[in-house]
C-alpha cells in the first residue's frame, strides 16, 4: 500500500524540501504540486473505498512501540475518509493562497503549513488512540508557530491562549486514553466496546473525552481562544483552522459516540442544549460584528455548534448530518474567509462599514459571494441544505423544543449573512474603500469556481459523503 502512505508523506517531504529550498518560485511550485498530488491520491482512494465494510481499509502499518504492542497504522474507513479528503483539499487551497499573500519568510511558513497538514492527516487516518492523541497534540506546534510568527499585532497573546486552552484541556483526553488502555486492554478504537466499567465511570470517561473535543471544536463556554486566534492568524491559517482544525474535535466525537450510545442517551438532551445554545449565542455575536473576519469567525463557531449537536441525537439522521455538514461547513467557511481576504488584500480593511455598492463594480465576486450565502442559508440544491435537513430532523426526533431553537438559529444565520451582503455589496452610496476593490483575477476565479462547483455537486449528490453509512453505524438498536 504505497498510495495511502503517499497521502501523508507528500506533505512531509514537501515540508522538508521547502525548508531547504529558499527560492520563492520553487517553494511555491513544490508546495502547490505536492499538496495537489496528495489531494488527488486521497480522492483516488476515497473513490475506491468499499462502503459496505465496517473496518479500516487500505491499512498501512508499521511496528511502532513494541513495549506497548502498538503499531503505527493509517487507514481509511467510512468516517475518516471524507475528513482526509477535506484536509487535503483545504491544504491545497491554503497553500495557493499563501503563495500569493505571504510576503516574508515564505519557505519556513510553507514548511510549517505542510507539516501541519501532515500531522492533521495522520491524526484523521490513525487507527488507534495513542496515535490519535499523539498527532492531536503534535499539530499544536506548527499551528501555534504559524499564528505567532505570521499573525497580526496581538498574535503573541492569541497563540498563547490557543495553545493553553487546547493543551490544557487535552489533559482530559490524555487521562481518558490511559483509562481506555487500562480498562479496555489496548489502544485500539474498538477497545472502547470492551470497557469493564460501571455506568458512572463510563460517564466520567465520556465527559473527559468531550471536554477535550469541545475545546478544539469549540463549543461556547470553552471558546475563549477562538476570537483572537482566528482574527490574529494569517488568513490561510484562519481558513485551515476553521475548516479543518475545528473538524478534529467533531471527528473525535463521531469516532467515540457509537461506543457510548447508552451513556449518550442519558445526557443527550443536555449536550444538545449546550450545542444549540452555542449555535444561537454565536449567531447573535456574529450579528453585532462589523468586522468581516470576526463575523465569519463567529459564523463558523455558530454553525459548528449545531453540527456537533447531531452526534448526540443518538439516531442515524443526526449522525449522518454531522458527517455531511462537517464537510460542507469546511468548504463554505473556507470560501467566506477567502472572500474576506480578497476584500482585505486590496483595501487593508476588514471593516464592512467601509464598503458598499460593490455589486456593479465586481459582478463575479458578487455572484460567488451570493452563491456561498445562499448555500450557507440552506438553499435546496446547494450543499448545506442536505446536511441541515438531516441535522434538524435528527434533533427534532430527539427533542422537539431543541429542534425549534435550532430552526431559530438557522434563521439568525440567514440574517447576519444577508446583512453582510447588504452592507458590502448593495448599500448606496458606496463608501471610499469600494473604489479600491477590483474583480477577481483568473486564479482566484478558479478557486471560487471550484468551491461553487463542489457546493452544487454535494448539494445534488450528498451520497458522495454518506454512501453506505446507514448500514454500518448502529446506536444500541436505535435507528
Amino acid at each position: 500500500m504505497l498510495g495511502v502512505k503517499l497521502i501523508l508523506l507528500l506533505p512531509l517531504i514537501g515540508a522538508i524540501l521547502v525548508w531547504m529550498i529558499r527560492k520563492r518560485f520553487l517553494v511555491n511550485l513544490v508546495a502547490i504540486s505536492l499538496s495537489l498530488f496528495s489531494f488527488l491520491i486521497a480522492l483516488f482512494y476515497y473513490l475506491n473505498l468499499d462502503r459496505t465494510k465496517r473496518e479500516f481499509q487500505f491499512i498501512f502499518s508499521y511496528r511502532w512501540i513494541s513495549a506497548w504492542n502498538l503499531d503505527f497504522s493509517v487507514g481509511f474507513d467510512h468516517i475518516n475518509a471524507p475528513f482526509v479528503l477535506l484536509t487535503t483539499l483545504i491544504t491545497t487551497v491554503a497553500v495557493v493562497l499563501s503563495a500569493k499573500t505571504i510576503k516574508e519568510k515564505l519557505s519556513s511558513y510553507m514548511a510549517l503549513l505542510l507539516l501541519l497538514s501532515f500531522f492533521v492527516n495522520t491524526f484523521f487516518m490513525s487507527t488507534n488512540f495513542l496515535q490519535f492523541f499523539f498527532f492531536y497534540e503534535a499539530m499544536l506546534i506548527p499551528s501555534v508557530l504559524l499564528i505567532q510568527r505570521w499573525g497580526g499585532r496581538n498574535a503573541y497573546e492569541a497563540s498563547l491562549k490557543f495553545l493553553l486552552y487546547t493543551f490544557g484541556f487535552s489533559l482530559f483526553l490524555f487521562i481518558a486514553i490511559i483509562a481506555v488502555y487500562f480498562y479496555g486492554g489496548g489502544f485500539r478504537f474498538d477497545s472502547l466496546s470492551q470497557l469493564s466499567l460501571t455506568a458512572q465511570s463510563k460517564m466520567l470517561l465520556f465527559i473527559s473525552f468531550l471536554l477535550a473535543f469541545f475545546v478544539k471544536i469549540p463549543i461556547v463556554p470553552l471558546h475563549g481562544w477562538l476570537r483572537e486566534a482566528y482574527y490574529e492568524a494569517p488568513m490561510p491559517m484562519t481558513i485551515f483552522m476553521s475548516s479543518v482544525l475545528s473538524k478534529m474535535g467533531v471527528y473525535g466525537t463521531l469516532r467515540i459516540a457509537p461506543y457510548f450510545s447508552d451513556t449518550v442517551s442519558l445526557v443527550s438532551n443536555w449536550i444538545i442544549a449546550l450545542c444549540v445554545f452555542s449555535f444561537i449565542y454565536s449567531a447573535f455575536v456574529a450579528l453585532t460584528a462589523k468586522n468581516t473576519k470576526i463575523m465569519f469567525s463567529y459564523m463558523s463557531l455558530s454553525h459548528i455548534g449545531m453540527i456537533t449537536a447531531g452526534v448526540f441525537t443518538g439516531n442515524i439522521l443526526g449522525y449522518q448530518g454531522t458527517l455531511l455538514q462537517s464537510i460542507n461547513h469546511g468548504l463554505l467557511s473556507a470560501g467566506f474567509f477567502y472572500i474576506a481576504e480578497l476584500l482585505q488584500r486590496q483595501t487593508q480593511s476588514f471593516d464592512s462599514e467601509k464598503f458598499g455598492g460593490l455589486s456593479k463594480r465586481v459582478p463575479a465576486l458578487t455572484f460567488f459571494t451570493f452563491a456561498l450565502i445562499m448555500a450557507m442559508a440552506g438553499f435546496p440544491g446547494l450543499n448545506y441544505f442536505n446536511g441541515e435537513l438531516l441535522l434538524l430532523s435528527g434533533i427534532f426526533k430527539e427533542n422537539i423544543y431543541l429542534g425549534f431553537f435550532s430552526v431559530f438559529g438557522v434563521a439568525l444565520g440567514v440574517l447576519y449573512l444577508a446583512w453582510f451582503f447588504y452592507r458590502v455589496f448593495l448599500r448606496k452610496p458606496a463608501a471610499e474603500m469600494s473604489y479600491y476593490v477590483k474583480d477577481v483575477s483568473s486564479w482566484e476565479f478558479l478557486i471560487l469556481l471550484l468551491f461553487f462547483l463542489i457546493s452544487i455537486y454535494l448539494g445534488l449528490n450528498p451520497d458522495f459523503v454518506l454512501l453506505g453509512l446507514k448500514n454500518i453505524i448502529s446506536f444500541g438498536g436505535k435507528v
Partner: protein, 457 residues
C-alpha cells in the same frame, strides 16, 4: 581478582584522572590538558562499554546488574558531554583547568560507585565523595560573589543531607546489625525505628534530588554556579541518586514502601516547582524550578512495583538529561541567561532558536518529542498502579509548565533590542543539535528507548 575487574571502568577513570591532574598541575597553561581530559572520559567510557555484560555480579559491598552497567555508561556519557560544554568556560580560566577536570572526574567516580553500591556505608562514602567535589565546583568562580554564595549554600544544606543519611544508617544498623541492602527485604513496617530510618533516607535523598521541601538550595546554586557546572548539577547527580534509590527500593518488600511520603513529596515538588517557575526572568533559575518539578514527576515512579520502577523512571531520566544538556548548551552558546535577552533570537540565530524550540516543547511534553513519550510511559504506569488522582494532578501541573516553557518560545520571535550582539559557538551548538536530534528521534520512534528496557527485564 574478578572483584577488581567489576570496577575496572571506575579504576580506569580514577587513575587517568590523577594523571590528568598531575599533568595539569605541572604544566598550567598547556592546551594538551584538554586532550587528556577527553581521553580520560573516552577511555573509561570505552572500558565501561566493553565490560558490558548481561550477567549479574555480586561482591560483598558491590553488586552489578545489567541496568546498573547501563547507568554507568550513561554517567560517563554525561561526563563527556559536560566536558565539551565547559570548553568555553575554561578558555577564560585556563590556569584552573586542572582542578576543574579533577573535581569533575572525582565526582563522576563517586557517582559510579553510588550506582553499584550494595551497602549503605559504601553508599554514604560515595555520596560524600561526589558531594564534596560538587560543593567546590559550585563555588568555582572564586572572584564572583554569587558563585561563592552558591557553593556555601549548597555545602551547608548538603551536609545536613549527609547527616540525615548517617542517621538512617545508624537506625538500620541498630535494628539489624548489618548495613547491607539485603537486610532491607526482611524488614517489617510495624518497626518504628525502621520507619524512621526510611524517613531519614528519603529526606536525605530528597535533598540531592531537590524535592520540595528540601529544594531551597537549588535555585541559588543553579543561578550562581558556572553554566557548565549547572548543566552537570542538573543531570549527573540526579541520575546517580535516582539509580541508588532504585536499588534501595528494589530491595524493599512491597509493604514497606513509604507510600504517603512519596505522594506528598512528589505532589509538593510538582506544585511548587511549576508555580515558582512561572515568574522567573532568569533562564537558569527557571530551569532550577523546572528541575524540581521534573524530579517530582520522576519521584512518582517509586510508587510502582519492582521492575516497573526501572521501566518508567530510567527512560524519563535519560530523556531529561538530554533535554537539560541541550538547553544548557544553548545557554552557553549564546552566553545569555536573562530571558529578555532572548527576544528576537529567531531572526539572528535561527538554528539555535530551532534547537531551543524543540527542547522546550520536549520539556512541556508535546509530541512528537521525546518528552511526551516518557511522560506518557510514566503516567500510564502510575495510573495503572491505581493512583489516578495523582496522575491527574501531575497532568494539571504539566499544563502549568506549558506556560513558562512556551513563553520563551514566543520571545524568540519578538522584536530584538537594537544593537544587540549574539555570540556564536560552534562546539556547543553542535551539542545542542545532537540533543535535539536525539529528542526528535526518540519522540518519533519511542521503541529506541522503551523497548530497550523492556527487553532488559
Amino acid at each position: 581478582m574478578t572483584q577488581y575487574l567489576l570496577l575496572l571502568p571506575e579504576i580506569t577513570l580514577f587513575v587517568l584522572g590523577v594523571i590528568t591532574f598531575c599533568y595539569g598541575f605541572i604544566r598550567r597553561e598547556s592546551k594538551h590538558l584538554w586532550i587528556f581530559g577527553l581521553l580520560t572520559f573516552a577511555v573509561s567510557l570505552a572500558v565501561a562499554v566493553v565490560c558490558f555484560n548481561h550477567r549479574e555480579f555480586s561482591a560483598e559491598a558491590v553488586k552489578i546488574s545489567e541496568y546498573k552497567q547501563l547507568m554507568r555508561v550513561f554517567i560517563f556519557t554525561i561526563g563527556l558531554l559536560v566536558l565539551v560544554l565547559s570548553y568555553e568556560d575554561l578558555k577564560k580560566n585556563v590556569n584552573k583547568a586542572a582542578e576543574y577536570f579533577f573535581l569533575l572526574i572525582i565526582s563522576l567516580f563517586g557517582m559510579n560507585i553510588m550506582i553499584v553500591a550494595n551497602d549503605l556505608l559504601i553508599l554514604y562514602l560515595s555520596l560524600e565523595t561526589f558531594s564534596l567535589a560538587l560543593y567546590t565546583l559550585a563555588g568555582f568562580y572564586q572572584k564572583e560573589r554569587v558563585s561563592v554564595e552558591a557553593g556555601l549554600k549548597y555545602f551547608i544544606l548538603g551536609t545536613l543531607s549527609s547527616v540525615l543519611l548517617l542517621a538512617c544508617i545508624a537506625f538500620l544498623y541498630g535494628i539489624t546489625g548489618s548495613t547491607s541492602y539485603e537486610i532491607l527485604r526482611s524488614m517489617k513496617v510495624e518497626d518504628f525505628s525502621f520507619s524512621l530510618g526510611v524517613l531519614f533516607l528519603v529526606a536525605s535523598f530528597a535533598f540531592k534530588l531537590s524535592l520540595v521541601p528540601f529544594h531551597a538550595w537549588a535555585p541559588d546554586v543553579y543561578q550562581g554556579a558556572p553554566t557548565s557546572v549547572t548543566a552537570f548539577f542538573s543531570t549527573a547527580p540526579k541520575v546517580a541518586v535516582f539509580s541508588a534509590l532504585i536499588n534501595i527500593f528494589l530491595s524493599f518488600s512491597l509493604q514497606t514502601k513509604p507510600e504517603g511520603l512519596i505522594i506528598i513529596l512528589s505532589s509538593l515538588s510538582m506544585f511548587l516547582g511549576n508555580l515558582l517557575a512561572l515568574r522567573q526572568t532568569n533562564l537558569k533559575r527557571m530551569l532550577a524550578y523546572s528541575s524540581i518539578a521534573h524530579s517530582g514527576y520522576m519521584f512518582m515512579a517509586f510508587l510502582l512495583s519492582d521492575n516497573l520502577i526501572v521501566l518508567s523512571l530510567i527512560p524519563y531520566l535519560i530523556v531529561y538529561v538530554f533535554m537539560n544538556i541541550g538547553i544548557f548548551a544553548v545557554i552557553i552558546s549564546i552566553k545569555e541567561e536573562t530571558l529578555n535577552k532572548y527576544y528576537g533570537l529567531g531572526k539572528y540565530n535561527p538554528i539555535v532558536a530551532l534547537c531551543l524550540i524543540i527542547i522546550l516543547f520536549s520539556f512541556t511534553g508535546i509530541p512528537p518529542t521525546a518528552g511526551f513519550v516518557v511522560k506518557l510511559n510514566l503516567f500510564k504506569n502510575v495510573f495503572s498502579a491505581g493512583y489516578s488522582e495523582l496522575v491527574f494532578f501531575a497532568l494539571l501541573m504539566s499544563i502549568l509548565s506549558a506556560f513558562y516553557y512556551l513563553r520563551v518560545v514566543f520571545y524568540l520571535y519578538k522584536d530584538a533590542p537594537i544593537n544587540f550582539k549574539y555570540n556564536k559557538n560552534n562546539i556547543t551548538l553542535a551539542l545542542a543539535l545532537l540533543c535535539c536530534i536525539f529528542l526528535l528521534l526518540v519522540g518519533v520512534l519511542p521503541d529506541l528507548i522503551l523497548f530497550f528496557f523492556f527487553k532488559l527485564w
